[in-house]
């Protein structure tokens, strides 16, 4: 992670400077100081570039004098309207322009201390890179940006605000890493192993294998996994930030007792690779299916974030991890499986497998934890990408209040949600000739019938389903998200918890 510090505003003696600038804003702070030190070079360059300080507009000035190697100026739009999000994005844009600098000082302008921390967050999120498998890259081609100093008049306050954001960034990076890892490295067992490492943050980590799942009656989950030589895993992460050790005493007893001690529950789909199984996918684009575990990745990252910032809340994260392969032991189209809930499912297409895994995990979750609500994240359907593209994830919920809170948290973090319908008429599309339901509802409304399927396993609990198939992976850079794994959902759900579920 980019190393971050906070200090009173001062021009660096050498190295780079980044300035976040509002529209029609007179020079002040380090901008004015740099202009003075360079004999007006900054102002001249901005005028020559026609810089208007529009959102994420970026001008780079090379070696303007005064020992500065580079000055990066990024627009915020109108400062009065620019909240934390705009600051964060502008800082992210600056970080991209600073890739070849080892260190930089960033002046976010006249902002309250928390926004200085948000500027750091934006830069940190953008500067992340997955480098593990590059063995031949020349040193001069590697990004060098390693140290960021955020200038602010009250550095101690900014630093205090940064500590919890840093924990969230670490959660985001955990997610991006597992989502980026190829499927030969990140098998279900390897994923579970990485989750074990989160115990250093105070998370309790439980891992269930096929034997335990068989005892629990996970017929749908195991059916998906049976074609692969890599065994499935169910990972359960517990964070007891509200009840603490008292909560620990109740471990294994199942349902938590007492007012407000019901945990929040997050469930993630974790297909470490999805070939489609016997209903094999076309070769074109199949490589993307390494990130068919992005839902589980986001849940793990979220739990890491909550634990890292010591959130005052009880939460559980459940990750259904399996690999969906065709083989001599694979599930066949038409197979009928019995889920943990006792309901039977006719598996007409083995490529609609995420919902089969989630069916058993959702049921198990509500049965064991009696949570306040369940939110699942899943790269569930191609249909949601047709509906919403890559800009919004699909939100399905049986709970109005939870849905509204989620939408608001999405707007606050830039991880946008769009509400999709649930209705009996869609539910009927799942009618099977020989079992309680089938696992596909046909092409029309494919994302909705998938959600209807899941709803049959929530047992009436408050529940929301985020279909993140269009938002889990970015094909181009965004200000705070380099292209690739986005960790969509981590910041959104962290925000939801922080805003609504950490008081009493």
């Amino acid at each position: 992670m980019l190393e971050v510090s906070f200090a009173k505003p001062a021009l660096p003696e050498t190295g780079a400077l980044a300035l976040l600038v509002g529209e029609d804003e007179p020079p002040s702070g380090l901008r004015a100081a740099a202009d003075d030190a360079t004999g007006g070079a900054i102002a001249r360059a901005l005028a020559a570039a026609g810089f208007k300080a529009k959102k994420n507009e970026c001008v780079t000035i090379l070696a303007p004098g005064a020992g500065l190697s580079r000055v990066v100026v990024v627009g915020l739009g109108k400062r009065a309207e620019a909240g934390g999000r705009a600051t964060e994005e502008a800082a992210g844009t600056a970080a991209a322009a600073l890739a070849q600098e080892a260190a930089a000082v960033l002046d976010p302008g006249p902002v309250p201390p928390p926004q200085a921390a948000e500027a750091a967050m934006g830069a940190v999120l953008r500067a992340w890179r997955f480098d593990r498998y590059r063995t031949k890259e020349k040193p001069e081609d590697k990004p060098k940006f390693a140290r960021l100093t955020v200038a602010h008049d009250e550095p101690a306050k900014a630093r205090a605000a940064w500590s919890s954001l840093k924990a969230v960034a670490e959660g985001v990076f955990f997610t991006r890493e597992v989502v980026t890892e190829p499927a030969n490295v990140l098998t279900p067992a390897a994923f579970a192993e990485r989750c074990q490492s989160l115990s250093r943050l105070g998370l309790e980590v439980e891992v269930l294998g096929p034997k335990e799942m068989k005892k629990l009656g996970f017929g749908a989950f195991l059916g998906v996994a049976q074609g692969s030589a890599n065994e499935p895993r169910l990972v359960v992460l517990h964070w007891r930030g509200a009840t603490g050790s008292e909560g620990k005493a109740a471990k294994g007893k199942g349902k938590a007792k007492g007012n407000g001690s019901k945990p929040l529950a997050f469930i993630g789909k974790g297909i470490t690779f999805d070939t489609g199984g016997v209903s094999l996918k076309p070769a074109q684009g199949m490589e993307d299916m390494k990130w068919d575990m992005a839902g589980a990745g986001a849940v793990a990252g979220l739990m890491a974030a909550l634990a890292g910032r010591k959130a005052k809340v009880d939460a559980v994260g459940l990750l259904g991890l399996a690999e969906n392969m065709p083989s001599g032991t694979a599930q066949r189209p038409g197979d009928v499986v019995t889920t943990a809930s006792g309901q039977t499912v006719e598996v007409l297409n083995t490529d609609a497998e995420g919902r089969l895994v989630l069916a058993d995990v959702l049921w198990y979750c509500q049965d064991r934890f009696d949570p306040r609500f369940m939110i699942d994240l899943a790269t569930l359907t191609g249909a949601i990408v047709i509906s919403l593209g890559h800009e919004h994830a699909g939100l399905f919920s049986n709970d109005e209040d939870l849905a509204q809170k989620l939408i608001a948290a999405g707007q606050a973090t830039g991880e946008l949600l769009w509400r999709m319908p649930l209705a009996e008429a869609y539910d009927k599309m799942l009618k099977s000739d020989i079992a309680d339901m089938k696992n596909i509802g046909g092409r029309p409304g494919g994302a909705i019938t998938a959600a209807q399927f899941l709803q049959r396993f929530v047992n009436g609990k408050a529940w929301a389903h985020l279909d993140i198939a269009g938002t889990a992976w970015a094909s181009k850079d965004k200000p705070c998200v380099p292209k690739g794994a986005t960790a969509f959902g981590v910041r959104l759900l962290d925000r939801l918890v922080a805003e609504h579920f950490e008081q009493g």
Partner: protein, 307 residues
């Protein structure tokens, strides 16, 4: 199968009641005329009468024969599927046709619902269990039914097998179900992979290689009483067909669970012969395999591979 009884009088005035009418009979019938029911061979009408009883009219077309009576009784059973009991009026029919009405209704009322654990949220679940056929020749109709019901039992046995999903009907499970036919006086012999290998069944074993479920060969024998060579039925029993290395497209591939329908039909036919104590000696030979795409299949069953 529905329970079937032949009776002279209608003893269940609340049960559903079906009448099978030719076009001529419909034209003369006041109810049929009132509702515009013409008695065509594909026609059925149903509704409640003044007492609340469900009444079904099913058309026979030009005349009542075995085929038109079976079809009409089948349609009547479908229309009355939500009630527990159906009474079919056959007092104008010969004993043979009264029995055919039972054949049509029992074939149509069959359903495969052992995998449903709860009623559908909407609609009326099928509940039909009992069939009563009204006839003046109770004893004769019963005797004909004795013979015809054997064929019905065979057909339903086959349908049960074909409907089972492939994870519940592997070659081994299929063979176990066939072993149950021994109770009917059928000799059942199951041969495993080693036996097949010794006998050089290279083609069958090649198909089975990709699957974790081992193949087998089933031989069913019905002795009969005639001292001649048996008639032979040979059935294809691919319990699931993915296409193997030449994988089929995903669209509707689930239908391939029925790729053992030939073997099921042969087994059902053998059951029918046994149930009616046929004098004809018969055998059925069924090749039971699963065609999967697997590591062993991929290396040994390349297109054009020689064996």
């Amino acid at each position: 199968m529905l329970s079937v009884r032949f009776r002279r009088r209608d003893r269940h005035p609340k049960a559903s009641f079906a009448r099978l009418l030719t076009a001529a009979e419909a034209a003369a019938d006041p109810v049929a005329r009132a509702i515009g029911f013409a008695g065509r061979a594909d026609e059925v009408a149903s509704g409640r009468d003044a007492s609340g009883r469900l009444v079904v009219l099913a058309g026979l077309g030009a005349r009542a024969d075995a085929s038109s009576v079976r079809a009409a009784a089948g349609r009547a059973a479908a229309a009355a599927i939500a009630g527990k009991r159906l009474v079919v009026e056959a007092r104008g029919f010969s004993p043979e046709l009264a029995a055919e009405a039972a054949v049509g209704a029992t074939l149509r009322a069959w359903r495969f619902d052992r995998l449903k654990t709860r009623p559908e949220p909407d609609g009326h679940p099928p509940r039909l269990k009992h069939l009563e056929v009204l006839t003046d020749a109770k004893r004769d109709a019963g005797a004909v039914w004795e013979t015809l019901s054997a064929g019905v039992a065979g057909a339903l046995f086959a349908r049960d097998l074909v409907s089972e999903p492939a994870n519940r009907l592997t070659p081994t499970v299929f063979a176990a179900r066939l072993r149950g036919l021994a109770e009917e006086g059928i000799e059942v012999e199951i041969r495993d992979r080693e036996w097949l290998a010794r006998r050089g069944f290279g083609a069958l074993l090649g198909v089975a290689r990709g699957s974790a479920n081992p193949p087998c060969l089933a031989v069913l024998r019905w002795k009969g009483t005639i001292d001649r060579a048996p008639v032979a039925f040979v059935g294809k029993g691919v319990t699931f067909d993915t296409g193997g290395v030449d994988l089929k497209p995903a669209e509707r591939m689930w239908e391939m669970r029925a790729d053992m329908a030939g073997a099921a039909a042969c087994a059902g036919a053998m059951l029918a012969l046994a149930r009616r104590r046929s004098p004809c000696p018969a055998i059925a030979v069924l090749g039971l395999v699963e065609n999967m795409i697997g590591a062993r299949g991929a290396t040994t069953r390349r297109r054009g591979a020689r064996r």
